[in-house]
Every structure is written in C-alpha cells, then in structure tokens.
Subunit: 149 residues, 4 copies
C-alpha cells in the first residue's frame, strides 16, 4: 500500500518565460509526471496504448508561493488525499531544494476520475478503479500535509 | 470600464495528447491568452520588455466537464470576478462552439497579483494596480457567471 | 489546386523563454499550425480521430535570422516545395509584420510522409497520398521562394 | 576537454499527441536539455539571470526514423560537431533504450551562436566564445558519428 511518492526535477529553459520564471502552466506537467511515476512505482502504467482505461482530470488547482527559475531543483511530493470508488484526489507539495532550508514554493491538486473509453467514439464512462490497482493505494496520514516551509 | 472579454481558439494538434484530447495543462495557456488579449483590448500590454511590472499567478484552478479534441472551436470568456487594490481574480468559462447547442466544457480561475520586479535580483513586491489601468477594469455582474450549459 | 497558404499569429507569453524571446521549438508548432490550416482550406483535416491515415515528420529544419518576442505579429507562409507519391515537402517563411518593412525572421522545412497506421500495434506504413487530396495540391512556382527580406 | 555528453529521458504523457507518439517539436526540447546538462557538466550554466551572454539558435534540424511513445526510455547523445570562434554545432543522436538492441530513432542538429545581449534593447551581437569555456570544449572524433542502428 502506497500513499506518497517523491520526484525531483530541474527546471528546464524551455519551461521558463519572458518574466524569467517557470511558466505557471508547467506546474501541472510536473504534477502529472509525479502521478505517472507513482503509477510506475506500483508496477503499472497510467496509459496503455491499446487499453481503454483513462484518468481524465476533473479538477486541478495550484497555489503559488514563490517563483521557480531555470535550473532550480524541485522536489515534487505526491500525497494521496482521497480515494473513492471511481476517483482519486492527489495533493502535490513543491519544494525548492537548491536553497537552505528547502522551502515550499507551491501546492496543488489533481482530482482524477477512472474511466473506460469507448474505442470508436472516444466517449468516457466513469468506472470503479480496478481492484488490483485500488488495493495498492491508500490515503496519506494527515500530518504529511503539514506545511513544510 | 471593461468587465469581460471573449476569445475564440481552435485546438491545435500539438495541444493534444495520446488520450486523443487536449492536454489539460493547455487550458491555462488558453486562460492566459484571453487575459493578455483583454489587456490589449484596454490599450496596454501585460508585459513590457523593459518594464518592471509583473502579474504572477497566486492561485489557479480549473474544473473540466467535457474533453476538447483536435480542431474543436473553443470560446474563452474572461470575466472579472474580483478587483482588489493589488490583485485581480478572473473567471474563465470555456464553451465548445462546434456543437449545437454550444456547451460549457470547463471553467477556471486565475488570481493574479500586481508586482514590481527588482531588476537585479528579480525579487517581486506586491504593489497597487496602476490607477490608469485600474480605472479601466470593473467587476462583472453576477448573472454573467451563470452556467451556460 | 493550391500551392501556398498564409496564417498570421501573435506570439504568446507562454511561448517565450527566460531570454525574452520565443523559444525556438515553438517555430515548429507554428509550421504545423499552418500545415493543418492549409489542409482545412482544402476541405479536409490532417487528423481524423477514427482514421488510420497519418503524416509523421521525416525531416524538419529551421534557420533563424531574427528573434521573435511577446506579442510580435508573425506571418507564416506555407509553400509546397515538393510533392511525391508518398510524401510532401513544405517550406515555411516567417515574417514579422509589426515592423516596417516586414522582414523575414525565419525559414524552415517540414518533410512529411503519408502513412497508414496499424490500429492495434500503431505501426506505420508509407502509402500513396490519397488521390482526392493529391489532386488539390501542387508545387509552388520557384519565385515564391525568393527571400522577402 | 569534453566532446560529448549523454542524457537519458523518459517520454512524458504531456509530450505525446493524438497520434499516440511524441510530438516532434519536443525533440528540440530534448536536444536543448542535453546541451544545458553538457554545460553544467563543464561547471557552468547556459543562462545566467543577470548575465548578458546568450546562445540563440541559428540553425536546427532533425531526421526522424522511428516514433517515440509514452514512457519510452531515450538516450540523447550530444556530440560537438564543429567549434568555431563565435559558434558551436552539435549533433544529437537519439536511441530508444527500451528495445533490444537499442536503435537510433532520430538524429538532429543545433547550431548556436555566442552573443552578447544589449540589456536595454535586447539586441544581440555575436562575440567570441569566452576562452574559459572554449578551452573545455573540443570537436568529437568522426567515428562517434557513425550510425548506431
């Protein structure tokens, strides 16, 4: 049973913008990268080319506290906040590691639904999370969500 | 005084992902494109190369109701939800136009702070929105936020 | 029979980088946007969700003469350079319109193959361009490729 | 003296497109990531926030042999092809590692100029590569460019 996962990334130049900081939209690509690495750590993949299982995002958000710049080292910590029959809610806590002490720079959410995709029309229908996968995921204890500023 | 702005875009192939739909992170690029076009409609620009005024995002979110696909026509409607001394909160309502009736596919938020950037260190400090700009922006009436499903 | 197409775009903030200019990789997204709009102008689409026809890129290149910045207005001119049985080569000429006289800022190439995708394995096999489409496309006369500096 | 550098990446979902493969424009972000990691391996950075040195791209190209898909493991091998007074040309060889034997899937070029940026207007002027940096970089021997299919 896993309730968290950590991934470290370094901000790339193509992720910055003319304000000299990481473009905010990339924070969601970082969340997703951690989510997918979390799935791989469970021995599975979030996307199987021939498969019909999908995980569309239902709600996403992020609060930004400090900007990230080119070559900053960022820890992305995924925490399972809620686990329901047909959906999962993750919290992501971002810390900038190349400063001492490392401080929280952003915190966000991905709420994802488990769906079956209709192969022809591409329509999606919410389904229960497959048992083999659900049995590996558990909600993280509350203290892990405390601020790590 | 302006309280809203509309922009229409067509989903590009490079914005889609292997699930066959627009990658969710791009919805925030769409919000920002509407925000910047709104500023241009007010006779200004959100970013002046030599300037020291900036608009970092403090909070962003989005709720997704229906997926967008390649070549879908999307109306992005910006509404000014809150206007404070040093920040603005926008709501964005996305409608898919190439279906009749056009339906709401997503709704999101950008909460942005007005800051002065320190030229050397790049540090940001919240400042009041310049009067010339603030005088052109007003909060949208509540009924404009009603669902347009 | 069409041999060229023009599209105008305005550089978005999310396309810039910390050097204050458009990140070079986006020039290829611009080329592709023009290619897809060209296909739409011919009454078709480059990508049909249920279809098995694809246009993978075999070779791409770009020469950069002048940088593009946020809010620059860019004309993307697509010219059909070669038309073969199973592939097309396009030249793209980029001009910055918000300067007088408008000058060429970049010039690039997309060489694309027409393929049939195997639905299950996703494998691609080069096939002749469908006659209905091939009949609408012709090679642009040489003088259109002259520099427009 | 260094003439090459290797970086391994895993294709992310946000880098794929509706054709189920990595969008071709991302190959240039991969090249740049390897270039910047190469600079870090030399004890420097390609971009110093307060600095006025820049490395705009003058010419870039890529030949694609096989598509990359979500979660493919990719080796990016940077080779210094040419070193001139004011510019460097790199070759990048991409190999897909999660197949045996690993095969070359793409090969490309970044030709970059060393420039001094005018702080106010943002204008760029080609300058000689600083000696401290130039002394660390050398051209790779020809046999390293042989195909590794």
């Amino acid at each position: 049973m896993a309730c968290e996962f950590k991934l470290t990334r370094q901000v790339e130049f193509s992720e910055t913008d003319a304000a000299g900081i990481m473009h905010f939209s990339n924070i969601f690509r970082y969340m997703e990268a951690a989510e997918h690495a979390f799935f791989r750590s469970l021995g599975t993949s979030i996307h199987v080319a021939e498969g019909d299982l999908g995980w569309p995002r239902v709600h996403v958000d992020c609060d930004f506290k400090h900007p990230l710049r080119f070559e900053d080292l960022v820890e992305i910590r995924l925490l399972v906040r809620e686990k329901r029959e047909k959906s999962i809610v993750y919290t992501f806590i971002f810390r900038k590691l190349n400063e001492q002490p490392a401080r929280e720079v952003a915190r966000g959410t991905l709420a994802v639904a488990c769906v079956k995709r209709d192969k022809d029309g591409g329509k999606m229908k919410a389904i229960p999370i497959p048992a083999a996968l659900a049995s590996k995921i558990e909600v993280a204890p509350g203290e892990l969500f405390d601020s790590c500023v």
